[in-house]
Symmetry: C5
Subunit: 100 residues, 5 copies
């Protein structure tokens, strides 16, 4: 999973059938320090996340498994709203790569 912050909404009227009724949120992935990493994605949401929330996102085929029928053509879903994180500082320095 990846951590991210919800930054927006997307609306699409014309869409594949499987997406009907799904809320779609724009998420900016962040690291444990809250720094943006990688690039934005759009995730389905069924647990009531909103703009500003820190969330956990599951990507790829596993995101279909939020539904029993597993037939949604989606590749990202918000699976949790983060309450808190605890990160060990020191020891391993976090990557200082530009894409961290």
């Amino acid at each position: 999973m990846q951590m991210g912050k919800v930054i927006g909404n997307v609306w699409a009227t014309r869409k594949e059938e499987g997406l009907e009724g799904l809320k779609l949120l724009i998420v900016q992935p962040v690291n444990s320090a809250g720094k943006p990493i990688r690039t934005q994605l759009v995730a389905a949401d069924r647990i009531g996340a909103g703009i500003g929330d820190d969330v956990l996102v599951t990507s790829g085929g596993s995101s279909r498994y939020i539904m029993k029928e597993k037939s949604l053509p989606i590749d990202a879903v918000i699976v949790g709203i983060i309450d808190s994180t605890e990160v060990e500082r020191g020891g391993l320095n976090e990557s200082s790569d530009w894409n961290d």
Copy 2:
């Protein structure tokens, strides 16, 4: 999912059987500001997207799930045509990474 803009078409006469009759569009992923991110991909389209449209693209194995039979050898499909987006500015600055 990722947001993108349709920038072109691809035609292939010789192809795997599963691709017969599928429209294939070249999509440039973009972020919520409309800025190109990552690299171009080719997505199947069944909902009538065309050049210039802002679209939502599902990637990976989930893209097969637009069809009941789920046997298409495709890894990207346009699942929605974006009407509008709403993005919270401020608070979290968007990544200024070159690849955002």
Copy 3:
């Protein structure tokens, strides 16, 4: 899918059973301008592609779906030989990122 150019062949005598008899080609992904993007990959080919051909490559689990039995341990397959592309210039500038 991604566009690419076939640049070579790979031969492996010792291999997993599922790969027996599959032609394996080295592909350099390219964008719609023919510029190399990302890094080389090796794709299975059943449609007769050869060095110099512009091709469409499906990656990930969907690449197994070229076979009914779907049991091949492959993650990339050539699904089409590109005849032509049509790309809208202007409007959206293509990413000038180094990895585009």
Copy 4:
């Protein structure tokens, strides 16, 4: 799989049903020299890994296969705690890419 170091914990009260009771750890991928590579991810853990452990992480749909029922909406799981590694130095220099 990728090698990584566990650097933290994540807690989420509101979440998709499939995640109930799963421990979630923040992992920083590292290469064989212990140098951070790529960006942080959050992995489920069932084998008792903790902060500071060097671990092996399986990503994508395969991470569901730690459970018989295979219905977890997760895309990363810790599958092993690394005891030791042996790396051949010389011959092939490791990539000096910034993202290695």
Copy 5:
């Protein structure tokens, strides 16, 4: 698939059940010129690869398909040991990107 060079071994005593008895090798992906690309990964091996071998690696969910039962929680497997490659030089210049 991707080409790579086996550079090391990983041992883990505490691990998910599905990994019991699987040999795990550290692989540095390389391009057709033998130049390191991307970042190291750990792949399961059943065909007897060893340090210094040039190999083909299948990633993602397809890597489970080396086993009939398909229940391994792995996301990378060595599917072939490369005997030789033939690469067309000229025409298309290889990407000179740092990550090629």
